[in-house]
Symmetry: D2
Subunit: 346 residues, 4 copies
């Protein structure tokens, strides 16, 4: 067993998840973490595992022993770090989105292609066992031709106020995962998109010209109609459901619950709540995604969630925003970003 | 106990349901059935209960003992029979839709108002215990302010080919029930509507310029977003689910199944299918709706599914068709039918 | 359609259920009700349907037009009325148990056999669609050879104190239905029985030398082990579940709920309660059982719940009581009642 | 963070689970593994983590750096190794049962007490989140006074034939976990036990004078009645359910499924299977139990699954066997083993 040496940039919430999973990984060895503002207890914890802590990502890019870089820093730094890592010949795992400006995303992707390194985008839900199984069953034709795809995706609570302004808006910050799920599960591209959205959860979203509640309808290349509903606040917990309906039947998922317990009394019959948020709900998916990344490096195979997938989802987010602003259906061909870069799975 | 005498026009599938329920009713007495093409076995069966069979609806309109008329004949006859029944001073129960041409519906409604009789439209789902409870919980504020309303409504099989051409199209034939459910459950009117639809189930729908699969999104007066998905063919059985999501939580229904049995073997873990179609699924709702109609007559109270409700749902069906044809969001105020009639619950 | 004329003895709670169902039946016509203490409103209601009310059951036995008698009076009168009805040549539907003293039950059964009339015992659960389907699937071999049969049967509340003393004890009053279900679902007789029981719900049961909570284990002729658990008080509602486990799998039922609604809030995720008690839970089963009785008369076929079934269940109740009293496993052959009467399905 | 050094004896199936979990643990460091017949690939894998491999357990007992010993070897070696480990001053984690002869178990326990080391028995189910939550809710009084406890515990497939003869029989090999669950969840001791059991799955069990299917009923000190049903073969997967019924309600668990997916087609409505066997079902429980063991060492607190718990469960297994052999209810006081050792939680 030889583990790939990894450098991690950004030791915030999601960076810590990946760090932790790497410490227990059979495939990846976390050699260096770069974060100028790293939390002391995180730093102490990592040091115990002989992990080097630095404030300068260059210590990662210039380390010849390091094979792969995890980019978990602020969104605005994703594209520049991707470019640096690619030029240093490192494989890259980058959290979504690549950037808030698709030109930047495309530029980064172009460099990745030129340098011939692998780039995996952090679409963790592709590695969730429930959604993976839906994907597999749909591919195998279990429900025949696809007619309707429905995704409910609702966060348990809105992000902090200070985050909202720099989030890029709900579509690129939150719905981007659902856009990717539509493409992943159906195996089809989107032709057009139509959005109805509103500000119902908290007036603060309006201040930032953002929405918190939306229904997004898409016509797919394969003829099916997809519909996503989003809310920034489902008070009962993280709500993540998918349904695919077709000529031969329907596949649905329920939310994962804390436990399978049912308590019946005179007053009520109660089940447990859905798992609270993404860290609990997608705990195993985060483990699986870095394992798959390691395998792609080891076997020099395609990553399962590519830079192209990142760009496509960002494009849908842009189209969604445009649909909302202009009050009309947007053909994806209007967002002519992809012709600029060409090429397929990276 | 004094039962109201009833005349029934049209002894087809749905007419037989109502007839049967009246034979077991404590409130209504089925005196006369008018249908020139009545099936012999139906005729024999009704005769055993001393029910008079006639081919001429006039025998009902002119019978002074008859207090109420059930109109279950072909859609094109609904409006004319409503007018005749109203002028004869009979209370009216009429299957949906009132007509395929909203001017006719409105004219009928106007006569009903002038004559001061009651008119109940056959929106049976309002009388289903599951949906009724959702309505009640939503009204009581169980889920706070409404944000999202989702309705899945899928038939187990398409109607016969010869019916499709005269159905008026999916929106007025099938979705009309879902439009009514949106208004019933939310207690709110619709401001605008946007439709994505396609022909995926059977090419025959295209021949009639009709669709068989649709996603319909609505912005409601109360600020919420509603979305209906329809299919003419869910091979696993009648799929009828409602979900209402709001600031304090979410309410959902599952389909009613044939039985609650689960069978687990090496090969599979199986539940029973949903009830096959509307006759099974809404069996009790059909009983409840005529009981409530009888009570409205008895206590001279408002019906729970009025002519106005019928017109509103028809208006939404017209707007949906327009949205599909013009490829844009339609404001309900564009379909300016209601100003022509004015008035409230009839 | 010719309906069989029926006389009903005893217009209490269960008698009213049957009366009501007969008023809506296509097979049975309720001609006479005999009850010296009939409630005035019940009497008025029945009179509207031209039903004769009498205080004397002889008015039923001596009426030549009456083909069948429903015996819903106090348990102590069941056997004598069965004998009278049989001698009058009437078919008989009798509520369980036939009597509290098995000699009396057997004597009644003997007369029934001599007179060649039909006797159906009110084991309503055999006519519940869920249990019927379990029975059918087990018979068809869906779970292979039977290994374990589990029945949970818990009432929502204890009977009135004054009833307990004359109930004959929990086993013959309540468990008798479960004993019948074991025989019905497995198609097998019981070889031996072992009881653990206690007084946990209400001390009043002890006063009457009765129990309110029990676990009853049985070895069946077919080799399987059956276990029933009973409680006189499940505060969350009527709990009626069956599970059959075998070499090829397991079949289970859930309770029927009031509605299929799920409400999720910050505080809880709630389902509806099970239906409250037997009138709600077995509403359709009561309709089905009298329909099947009518068919057995019409086609001169075997009833689906015979006098023999009644005797067998009573025998198991006796054995259960003996097991509890003597603190040991009782072989059913010790309760040598059946040799005295011989014969099969009546 | 200082990890406790651990030595592991026996690198079979369950030993490998613990080894793997220790390699990812923040609390425990696997220093040495003793197994004369260790599989080469396991040996290679462990060596990569700098784990020492030896054939002689003495290398563990005599290593002063080692604080705790995991005993995962054959059952017959448990007691002798416990004694050696205790005398060497090591804390002990031992798989169940302590031994097949309770005198040996008690002798081992006595040495443990004398030496003042901790002993945790591998009752993994106490650390399963579902059962833990049932335990907590029951303790908090969520269902009031306990009346009925029901446990279904069925393996997906019988053990290999060669194992059956040395297993000690189903009660001490398999049911021992369920006996512990009864004690854990109720917080009560057992007064008497009554067993009905049979050989239905495979005739091979009879050859070894063993059973494969059982219903075990227990009267508890707290007045409740507990019933366990066991099968050596549930072809649909590992079936592990618990239900606790009391004066204020009922708590139940469902099995954990592979995924939450439902697939509905014309032919069937299917859920996923339960997780296949203990390694999948109790994956997290195995992680939790060694973490809790580490905490007990660190904080010098009581283990959550003590030697006394082991002895009590073994006693119940003995009583169960006696009940089956003698065909009568056994009072636990007849199995007078515990007076010999005295003392409480070890």
């Amino acid at each position: 067993m030889s583990k790939s040496n990894v450098g991690l940039i950004g030791a915030g919430k999601i960076g810590q998840i990946h760090a932790n999973n790497m410490l227990q990984s059979d495939d990846l060895h976390l050699k260096t973490v770069a974060d100028p503002f790293i939390n002391q207890s995180v730093s102490d914890y990592l040091s115990e595992y002989s992990c080097r802590i630095t404030s300068d990502p260059e210590d990662i890019f210039q380390d010849e022993e390091i094979e792969a870089v995890f980019i978990c820093s602020l969104t605005e730094t994703h594209a520049p770090y991707i470019i640096k890592a690619a030029r240093a010949g490192k494989h890259i795992f980058c959290e979504k989105p690549i950037s808030l400006h698709i030109e930047n995303s495309m530029e980064a992707l172009k460099v990745v292609q030129e340098c011939g390194v692998k780039l995996q985008i952090g679409f963790n839900r592709r590695f969730d066992k429930h959604f993976k199984k839906i994907h597999d069953l749909v591919s195998e034709g279990a429900i025949g031709n696809q007619h309707l795809i429905k995704i409910s995706s609702r966060d348990p609570q809105p992000p902090p106020h200070e985050y909202i302004g720099k989030s890029g808006g709900m579509f690129i910050d939150m719905t981007i995962h659902d856009f990717d799920m539509v493409r992943f599960i159906t195996g089809s591209e989107v032709n057009e998109i139509s959005v109805k959205a509103s500000n119902l959860v908290d007036p603060v979203f309006s201040k930032y010209n953002d929405v918190d509640t939306a229904v997004i309808t898409m016509m797919l290349e394969n003829g099916a109609i997809a519909v996503i509903d989003n809310s920034r606040q489902a008070v009962y917990g993280y709500d993540q459901r998918v349904e695919v309906f077709g000529s031969k039947g329907v596949i649905e998922t329920e939310n994962e619950k804390e436990t399978n317990i049912k308590v019946s009394t005179r007053e009520s019959v109660s089940l447990d709540h859905p798992k609270y948020f993404f860290l609990e709900r997608y705990k195993d998916a985060y483990v699986n995604e870095i394992h798959e990344f390691a395998l792609a490096i080891k076997h020099n195979s395609n990553v399962l969630s590519s830079g192209t997938d990142g760009i496509e989802a960002e494009t849908l987010a842009i189209a969604a925003k445009k649909s909302l602003e202009e009050g009309r259906t947007i053909s994806i061909s209007e967002i002519d970003v992809f012709s600029m870069i060409g090429g397929e799975n990276v």
